[in-house]
Symmetry: C2
């Protein structure tokens, strides 16, 4: 039985120096070249920009969040409106997550900080109850209780209709002990099987399912998780759970996973979007990344700039008030072609929401340029040289 | 002496039934067909949309506000950045006002309501001091005192560099007596002469100056003002001051002015943007209109719809939550081509700022379609029939 008749992933390794690979991932809504970055359209919209603008930035793929959409407007309504593609106007490949990450993050307080192990201790009471059946949580909109199970998550993702969908998991926090991480991982494995069974009950060939590797920062658990997920017929693999407390630990965790994974499946690294981290992940064999980072920082005036210290500049800074240059000289985005830093600085100061649109468009374009440059550098086996171009330390920008 | 060598206005009357006219107004940044609607880019940006999107809506002309720009980012900075066109990326014809209207409105509390005579009594203390020299007011940004004079307003507008600029006037409130209105009008006449003198001192042929007709709701004062302004060499004429407390009174005030005006000059009606009012003004011979209304209501979820009761629908309304239709079936704007009412309703509910962009784009497109339809109807002398199409009372929308 071919579970995924309308999907394919082909790749080639291009270097002896690292495990990076060039690929093509094909879905019923078209193909994307990997390595690729997936932009977050959390509530079926990339914040501050229209989907036509997102397309015009050479975007290949976007994702929406099951958790947000199940609460508002509801997956049945999205289905009734023709599915997520029709609803939000995006014609290309699309992914939805399982809802687990957001439920978890509401329960534990902070979101990405927790996954990345950087959260400090808080004693906020968890508002989520996790059992073998699933996760019981309270809606942030109206306070209603919802039970999300593996079956329910897949059903909702089916209604939403994205191309790539993900098994329901408990997104294990960093600050728990190994024994919790182990039992949480094994429950997530059982949930993965239930997700696959539910997937099969409704499989019409239009969606492909990703499994998730858990196991926290523990080598033996990661190995156990890889071996378990390898044995199941998932189309793709996502590396999830806690990735550790530092970039070094993240590298180590990914390294525990990637070499053991079946190579023929596309691999997604959940929630990572820094330039250095992307180069690092690409070298380890990661095919796709996602993160709210590029679009979120845009709404605070941070523009991504090749070669700038910390990868970015803050256009709110007074030094830009009379800077006639575009954000980046060689960027083809609408913001850079049309406007100066001085103008965007003015818009930010004047609290004009156009500023958010422009910096978001720039950051999306930057990320797509980055991924295109990475693919090019994989082809020519010049990834180190390419990385130096992006990770400069120029304060001149 | 030709004060306005690079500007022209030609027109033709097309009907025996009314004074409506079809025209072409040419500026150094291109021509516009009249009657036309001028969109408000208050702080050098039309709120929530990019200038490329504004262009794509078939927009002919925009305006910015001297008052806002003199305070932030300052006219000298805009000049240093190459002027308003370069700064905000708009290539077409552009107008700036004199700053008088906003200074006045800050001093007296409400803005448009006062001009339109609908404001209720408030005892808010005026923060503006008006003298023969000019208007002394306090910045809303940092509390600094600023003195705006006719000379200063023209200098600022020269630095901003819009094509069409306007004399500095006191925008006389509705709720003052006739004697105040008369002496305010006469001071505004003296300010108009000072504006013209300052205009001449820096005239490089790239700008054209509009005079303003004052006189409130009083026939003899409006006549006096028309006769005075007619005698001065302004390129265009704006009908300003209080237009009365009702649509009927506004009609009467415009009628006191238009038949006496020199016909060869383009006539602008300040701050009016309702569909019914535009048809009424066009019949009286008005060539251009401006108002924040279409873009402001967009940001509250109100979409302009041809034939709808009150000219609009509120997409926040629950009845749109599963409406798969576009805002308007035959509209070519990005919002209508790409998205359903249900989607925009979802965005509004979810507080996604993309909603503001989409409804703004629609309302701009609607206004441009309206003005194109009016020009077409003037050509075929079917203005009454056209008006009925727009002012329906369909709740079905």
């Amino acid at each position: 039985m071919n579970r995924y008749p309308h999907f394919s992933f082909t790749y080639q390794k291009t270097s002896q120096k690292h495990a990076g690979r060039l690929g093509v991932l094909t879905t019923p809504h078209g193909s994307l070249k990997t390595p690729a970055f997936i932009f977050c359209a959390t509530k079926a919209a990339i914040k501050a920009v229209s989907i036509k603008q997102v397309e015009a930035c050479d975007t290949q793929i976007i994702l929406s969040n099951t958790y947000h959409l199940m609460l508002q407007p509801g997956s049945k309504l999205v289905k009734q409106m023709g599915g997520l593609h029709q609803f939000c106007g995006w014609q290309g490949p699309m992914l939805t997550d399982s809802g687990g990450f957001q439920i978890f993050s509401l329960g534990h307080g902070s979101v990405a900080d927790e996954i990345k192990g950087t959260r400090r201790y808080t004693n906020r009471k968890s508002t989520v109850k996790i059992s073998e059946e699933g996760a019981l949580f309270t809606s942030y909109i109206d306070g209603k209780k919802h039970l999300l199970t593996p079956e329910k998550s897949i059903e909702i993702q089916r209604d939403l209709g994205a191309d790539l969908i993900v098994v329901f998991d408990e997104c294990t926090p960093f600050h728990v002990d190994k024994s919790y991480t182990a039992s949480s991982m094994r429950m997530s494995h059982r949930w993965a099987l239930r997700s696959l069974e539910e997937f099969d009950r409704g499989n019409d060939g239009k969606q492909a399912l990703y499994g998730i590797i858990q196991g926290g920062v523990y080598q033996d658990l990661r190995k156990e998780s890889v071996d378990f997920i390898n044995d199941q017929d998932f189309f793709g693999i996502a590396v999830g759970g806690s990735l550790g407390a530092s970039k070094e630990q993240m590298y180590d965790v990914v390294q525990m996973v990637l070499p053991r994974l079946k190579p023929e499946r596309p691999v997604h690294l959940l929630g990572i979007g820094g330039v250095r981290d992307i180069f690092s992940g690409v070298r380890q064999g990661i095919d796709t990344f996602d993160c709210v980072h590029p679009t979120r920082i845009a709404r605070h005036g941070w523009a991504l700039v090749k070669g700038a210290t910390k990868e970015r500049i803050n256009l709110m800074n007074t030094r830009f008030k009379d800077d006639p240059r575009p954000i980046e000289e060689n960027c083809s985005c609408e913001a850079c072609v049309t406007y100066s830093r001085a103008y965007i600085h003015h818009l930010l100061k004047a609290k004009e929401i156009l500023a958010l649109q422009l910096v978001t468009l720039h950051n999306i374009t930057y990320m797509n340029r980055l991924m295109a440059a990475i693919r090019q550098a994989l082809e020519t086996d010049l990834l180190d040289e390419e990385e130096k171009q992006w990770l400069g330390n120029s304060d001149d920008n």
